[in-house]
């Protein structure tokens, strides 16, 4: 007489907690998720193909638009890849300023993650506080490069400008006040029983599954794998800084929260060291006006706030790349989603999307 039926529900593409235009087709058994189909492509712009028609200078503004929450890393990865291909050595001061801006960007990006993740789960206050502190960082970026979101802040061979006067003091001020602010977020969340209830044991991703899916970044480290590109394949001047790589044990959403919180603290440590050892000198290496890398191919990765951000360029000696490919961490990490939400409740899907910290501009490219 009674029978149950599976039901297909569309979550997205305009759902507020999917962080963009992500569509999930959930097969539900009551409240329980039985199967998930991730449908992407709503934001596809064909950037990889577009890059084949642009010269090397013109591509950098396009990389800004991939992961728009952490555009500094896209810029950094791109220019470093071209520099590696051409064998350009960047002046030391430029490298330090790149590290400074990149680590500030990591904090800003994690603040967006924390704010929106908490908002999805129902803690609205944290969102406002996080964005208040992010505003300080964006002001610093505006003073440095003139833009607040799509920076186009580096150039192949160095930086277009040195830092403006007074900038270092403003960064020092931020490094001083931020730990106190971070403590406030933690007071609001870390022991909050609703937060614990919504994140503990939710979205478990075992380390071997994480490796199988190719998950990188904080999601991988929260699964207990100690892998960070800054340590494993140091780029820029990262081999000179002391910092810890936080890892988790329980592989759940709560551990990913703890790992990212700790990463912000480690970023502050790197900032402090970079500020103390900032060398003097020029910021631009000698590069030809027309960038024409030699024939060859190159793959280079940087550790973005979301994971391994890779750039692959095939050059045929032209001033345009023959093939350009981005390995975007959001896209790869998103693959683990169906596995992580299998058997969970619908409300947990929201938490898992938040904890994966995807940016749809990065997923769809």
């Amino acid at each position: 007489m009674f029978r149950t039926e599976m039901m297909d529900i569309n979550m997205g593409p305009q759902h507020p907690s999917t962080h963009g235009v992500l569509r999930l087709k959930l097969v539900l058994d009551g409240e329980t998720v039985n199967d998930t189909d991730v449908l992407i492509g709503y934001l596809h712009r064909g950037v990889e193909k577009l890059c084949e028609t642009k010269n090397y200078h013109m591509i950098e503004p396009y990389t800004d638009r991939l992961d728009y929450v952490a555009a500094m890393y896209e810029n950094l990865g791109y220019v470093e890849t071209v520099e590696k291909l051409m064998g350009i050595t960047v002046p030391e001061r430029a490298e330090y300023i790149r590290v400074l801006t990149a680590e500030l960007q990591r904090i800003a990006s994690h603040l967006v993650w924390l704010g929106t993740h908490a908002l999805d789960i129902g803690a609205m206050t944290v969102f406002f506080y996080c964005f208040r502190e992010r505003e300080i960082i964006l002001d610093l970026f505006e003073a440095f490069c003139g833009a607040r979101l799509t920076y186009n802040a580096y150039r192949i061979g160095g930086l277009p400008w040195d830092i403006p006067p007074g900038w270092i003091d403003r960064v020092r001020h931020f490094v001083k006040i931020f730990p106190g602010r971070q403590k406030e977020y933690e007071t609001l969340l870390t022991k909050n029983r609703i937060w614990l209830g919504r994140t503990k044991g939710v979205g478990i991703l075992k380390s071997e599954d994480a490796i199988d899916f190719g998950v990188t970044g904080p999601c991988l480290r929260a699964s207990g794998v100690d892998y960070d590109i800054r340590r494993a394949h140091p780029y820029s001047v990262y081999d000179r800084f002391l910092f810890d790589i936080p890892t988790g044990e329980n592989c759940d959403t709560y551990d990913r929260y703890l790992v990212r919180m700790e990463e912000m603290r480690q970023s502050l440590r790197i900032l402090q060291q970079a500020l103390d050892h900032l060398p003097a000198g020029g910021v631009m290496a000698k590069v030809p006006k027309r960038i024409k890398p030699p024939v060859g191919e190159v793959y280079h990765t940087v550790e973005g706030p979301r994971g391994e951000l890779g750039f692959y360029i095939v050059s045929q000696g032209d001033d345009k790349p023959y093939r350009m490919r981005f390995r975007s961490p959001s896209f790869v990490n998103l693959q683990a989603l169906p596995h992580m939400v299998k058997g969970a409740l619908v409300a947990d899907v929201v938490a898992v999307i938040g904890t994966l910290d995807i940016v749809l501009g990065d997923v769809d490219r």
């Binding site: 200078h57 013109m58 950098e60 003073a143 003139g146 833009a147 277009p160 007071t187 022991k191």
Partner: protein, 155 residues
Amino acid sequence: MGMQAFLQKVLLLELWQGMWVTLKNQFRPHITVEYPRETVEFAPRFRGVPRLRKDPQTGEELCISCLLCEAICPTECISIVAEKRPDGKGKQLVSFTINYERCCFCGLCVDPCPTKPITAIYMSHDYEFAGYDRDAYVATREELVDGKPVKIYTR
């Protein structure tokens, strides 16, 4: 369950700590800017829409029609028509248009501009644009020098 954990559970300690944080934040200075009644102050390097400028001393046009900015623009939104000068030396502008609709504010056009001591094209601090049609976003040479007129709507 230890005594401390028990107390924590009964007294809702973590809740009160959180409330204390929100209370403390009530007394921090407000940072919200009531746009459009007030506006934020821009950093000197702020990149608004690109514009052209004249030599501040002589009042002559700086642009020498070298087309470098047109060549580097990633969105191809600059279009320049130039002709030979009547005296045979170099080129002069016939028209210079930037389609602000396509401009992505990247600032790349400023980098190669060769004029000295300041670049002819520069990133201005203008950012307020609203229009009813696409033509409203095409800036001609005169508008690039004097700034695009901004229409202020009032109630």
